[in-house]
């Protein structure tokens, strides 16, 4: 029982961690506080649904097709909608406020389109819904697959960002954009790419989520909020912190839902959020503010 709940909580946590990684890229590097972030996750879930039920293409193929599309879409959104804000913003703080307003509007646009197409009904599809036995515990194969893929994507991204020069350059923009310019990094382009990469990540999470969760057109906000909670809990801009906080949140939510009361899930989320903020205001792995 405990193992089952832990595995299923880890799957959820893996999704949170991936989603938070993407938001870390968008917020930490591109300095865009993207309130429409979760909408892309839902859109990707619908895309995977359509691929599977509409044209009988496996979500695993969707996982290869959808993120690049989300990358391109996010890149376009950044260039068309957000770059003008970047250009006119005098400070990064001003950009943050402007981006919140702009993406708040974008949230309703994307959500509206999805509501118009799919309505408010809940959707799910049955993919690999077979029980697997692991050390006496029963786990749905689709959940386990989603967890494994989330780990692969998360670890791959983490290594890419920490072990390669281009990844280090992306982190450098988050640390200090002026210093980044001084080592010949084109900060504008790097920001656009980081924003697009964040979009690709949240879309990948959307495909994975659709494999085992029931979703509807209104679910985006939930994931945006969870991503924010995880990012702040992990320490803003800290990749490893986001991974740990995401996993932690998923596990706690699932334990509370199963062992205490499903109605207290959200309360548990914000309880550990508050506890972390009280004990370590800078986040689990964040450093004290300058």
């Amino acid at each position: 029982m405990l193992l089952e709940v832990t595995l299923s909580g880890a799957t959820l946590g893996g999704m949170y961690a991936l989603v938070a990684l993407g938001l870390t890229l968008q917020y930490g590097v591109a300095r865009i506080m993207n309130l429409s972030y979760g909408e892309l996750l839902v859109a990707a879930a619908f895309a995977a649904l359509w691929f599977y039920t509409g044209v009988a293409v496996s979500p695993l193929v969707g996982l290869i097709v959808v993120p690049p599309l989300a990358f391109a879409l996010s890149f376009g959104i950044y260039r068309v909608l957000l770059q003008p804000l970047v250009r006119r913003a005098k400070t990064r703080d001003a950009l943050e406020v402007d981006s919140i307003l702009a993406t708040f509007g974008l949230l309703f646009v994307i959500q509206g389109v999805m509501l118009a197409i799919f309505g408010g009904a809940y959707f799910s599809y049955s993919f690999l819904a077979v029980p697997l036995q692991i050390a006496g515990a029963t786990v749905a194969a689709n959940r386990l697959l989603a967890l494994v893929l989330a780990v692969v994507i998360g670890v791959g991204l983490y290594l890419g960002l920490t072990r390669t020069r281009i990844g280090t350059a992306v982190r450098a923009v988050a640390v200090d954009p002026v210093a980044a310019e001084l080592v010949a990094i084109d900060v504008r382009t790097a920001s656009a790419l980081a924003f697009a990469l964040g979009g690709a990540l949240v879309a990948a999470s959307g495909v994975l989520v659709s494999m085992f969760l029931t979703f509807n057109a209104n679910l985006g906000v939930v994931f945006t909020l969870k991503a924010l909670v995880v990012v702040i809990m992990g320490g803003v801009g800290n990749l490893l912190g986001a991974l740990i906080a995401g996993l932690l949140l998923g596990l706690v939510e699932n334990y509370v839902a199963v062992f205490v009361d499903p109605g207290l899930t959200l309360a548990a989320t914000y309880a550990i959020f508050l506890i972390v903020l009280l004990v370590r205001p800078q986040g689990i792995l964040g450093r004290a503010s300058r």
Partner: protein
Amino acid sequence: MLEVAGLSVLYGKHRALDQADLSVGAGEIVVILGANGAGKSSLLRAVAGLLPAAPGAKVMLSGRPLVGLPAHAIVEAGLALVPEGRAIFGDLTVRENLLLGAFARRARGEETRNRARVLALFPRLAERLGQTARTMSGGEQQMVAIGRALMSAPDLLLLDEPSLGLSPLLCSELFRALERIRGDGISVLLVEQNARKSLAVADRGYLIENGRIVGSGRAADLAGDPAVQRAYLGGR
């Protein structure tokens, strides 16, 4: 190598720098002396592309115009700035700072050689490659900043008050390092308040007051000039 003519920097209506002309020859160390707020930093930042130059300015590096280029393109053109406050990547390790220093395409081919040079110049960094930069002492951070700039394989190195906050011993070490950097064929332009030590290593100097260049000459002449001694060397 560097030719600057008619360079002005405006902050709103305030003229931080007014029609500055200066040049740095190949293999030269040139120092700009001036008090706080005289416009020294504005000059370097405008040359490096971090501040917009007022219209009419001309900045040429080896015959290539730099005005209007973004800062990252100016690094590619062969100019590296170590700004005031150093602007190293504090959250990253020394190794990562040096790796990023060679992000410029012009620096890739020479990366191994430049790294060896930097580590020979500052052996302390070789021992601290894995350390997070912001946990280092001020002197060590300055080494990281200069080392990172050298990793971009510059033709010209700009330094904004590199001796600020350093002990006299570290300060002497720093100026010796500048001579070795020049020995590797890199020209140096620095702004300083420490007139005595900077004039001792420099070939030429400029004096800047209230945003205007008010004097220039060979470093030895400036060091011996009674007016300069009164303004910049007195009391030290």
